[in-house]
């Protein structure tokens, strides 16, 4: 392979592409590219915040074709767990935890976005994670933490800290390893 690469003929029109570098430079932020919820779609005070069945179904990993494109298994990119804490409390606790870890938090539409600024000025974003809480029943909530791009190791550390601090029991770790048969 090296020998071929050295050959004049090969060098002639070949422009090496470094996919790893490019991937880090273009962080695909699915929040911005999906249909933007307009302010007018704000739920009115009367309607319940109970999760919509279609929204729940839409969380299925089989309806998420990103597996075609991602090297990492979905369990490395997304974590879900249930909790009895209220959404407000959950969001506050998540915000506290991530801020302590040195992340910057942005809030929008009831979702929390976590960004870690890279030390290097040239590549400002190193990790981008979104957290969302859904109501399953008046006392049970589903939390989803999703990595849109960035360092896998850093993401795992973040998840471990969240699991630990929010008291996610061992058995619920199943939600994260749903693909291990």
């Amino acid at each position: 392979m090296a020998g071929i690469k050295e050959d004049q003929w090969f060098k002639r029109r070949y422009t090496p592409v470094n996919p790893v570098e490019d991937k880090e430079a273009t962080c695909i932020d699915d929040e911005s590219l999906t249909i933007h919820e307009s302010a007018s779609s704000e739920k009115d005070a009367d309607s319940s915040t109970l999760i919509n069945a279609f929204e729940l179904i839409g969380m299925s990993s089989s309806l998420d074709l990103s597996g075609f494109f991602e090297k990492e298994d979905v369990s490395e990119r997304r974590m879900r767990f249930t909790s009895h804490h209220s959404p407000k409390e959950l969001m506050e606790r998540i915000e506290d935890i991530v801020t302590q870890m040195g992340f910057v938090v942005q809030k929008r539409n009831g979702k929390l976005k976590v960004v870690e600024l890279h030390k290097d000025r040239n590549s400002p974003v190193n990790l981008s994670v979104a957290a969302e809480v859904f109501e399953i029943s008046p006392s049970l909530y589903l939390v989803e933490v999703r990595k849109s791009c960035g360092d896998a190791k850093l993401y795992r550390q973040l998840c471990e800290k969240l699991s630990h601090d929010l008291g996610v029991p061992r058995s619920q770790k199943l939600l994260n390893t749903e693909f291990l048969v």
Partner: protein, 252 residues
């Protein structure tokens, strides 16, 4: 190495390039092919190796939300997915499951539905053309109405033209099972009831396409999974290392 040396059967499916002004890539010039798994080889021949069922990128680009180079990048992805278990140029159900779950045997209601919708020809496998045409709907720039229609077909499990209440419940139960999430029957009923009431505005006990469309427009996040941001940068993710076909034979 076997991927790089075409067998004679592939010659029959070679696209007819008569009258086409731009010769297709990989045609009668020496080419160096680097496929995505890093194997490399050079073959200098008049034959080209396309998978059976290959369709011209220019045609696919004109019929979908993709550009020609994006279709070519998708071909790289397609080759990778379609050769993971059966190297025959088509994506089989097991290969589809393997690509999504890294587990070829993992069966799933939703994966079955998506597979069936991708399998436009209804012949049990997904060819390149079907792959590109179906993925086109997931492009960020694809019309929202296409996404809404696709989602409807997805959830209409028994293809009756309506999403019935028992279909909705079946899907909720499948999701819970897949996520190892245990909810009581009561809780499931409450969720299904509320959603159904919200969506079935005509009150006839089933959700039709019109009601679905209205429902999605009120709740845009319902079709979040119908958009794959990756498709916007597909040429970066799956670079085609094939040298430009402008290199004439005489120079090599």
């Amino acid at each position: 190495m076997h991927l790089l040396f075409p067998s004679l059967s592939y010659l029959e499916s070679r696209p007819n390039s008569q009258g086409s002004p731009t010769p297709p890539q990989l045609s009668s010039q020496s080419s160096c092919v680097l496929n995505v798994s890093g194997l490399m080889g050079c073959f200098s021949s008049k034959r080209m190796k396309y998978t059976p069922g290959y369709e011209e990128p220019t045609i696919l680009a004109s019929e979908t939300s993709f550009s020609v180079s994006e279709v070519e990048a998708l071909y790289e992805l397609f080759k990778k997915l379609s050769s993971s278990i059966f190297d025959d140029g088509f994506i089989h159900k097991e290969e589809f499951q393997f690509a999504l779950f890294r587990n070829r045997n993992r069966k799933n209601l939703f994966a079955d539905r998506i597979f069936d919708l991708f399998d436009l020809k209804r012949n049990g496998v997904i060819g390149f053309g079907e792959f590109v045409r179906s993925l086109s709907i997931f492009h960020p720039d694809a019309p929202v109405s296409d996404k809404i229609a696709f989602a409807f077909k997805l959830y209409d499990l028994r293809q009756t033209g309506f999403i019935e209440r028992d279909e909705l419940k079946e899907m909720v139960v499948a999701l819970l099972h897949e996520s190892d999430l245990i909810l009581s029957e009561d809780v499931i009923e409450v969720i299904v009831d509320k959603t159904y009431t919200d969506a079935d505005t005509k009150g006839d006990g089933r959700i039709d396409q019109e009601e679905w469309k209205e429902f999605v427009l009120k709740n845009p996040s319902l079709i979040k999974n119908m958009t794959l941001p990756y498709l916007k940068d597909i040429t970066l993710a799956f670079p085609s290392f094939v040298l430009n076909s402008e290199v004439p034979d005489s120079e090599v």
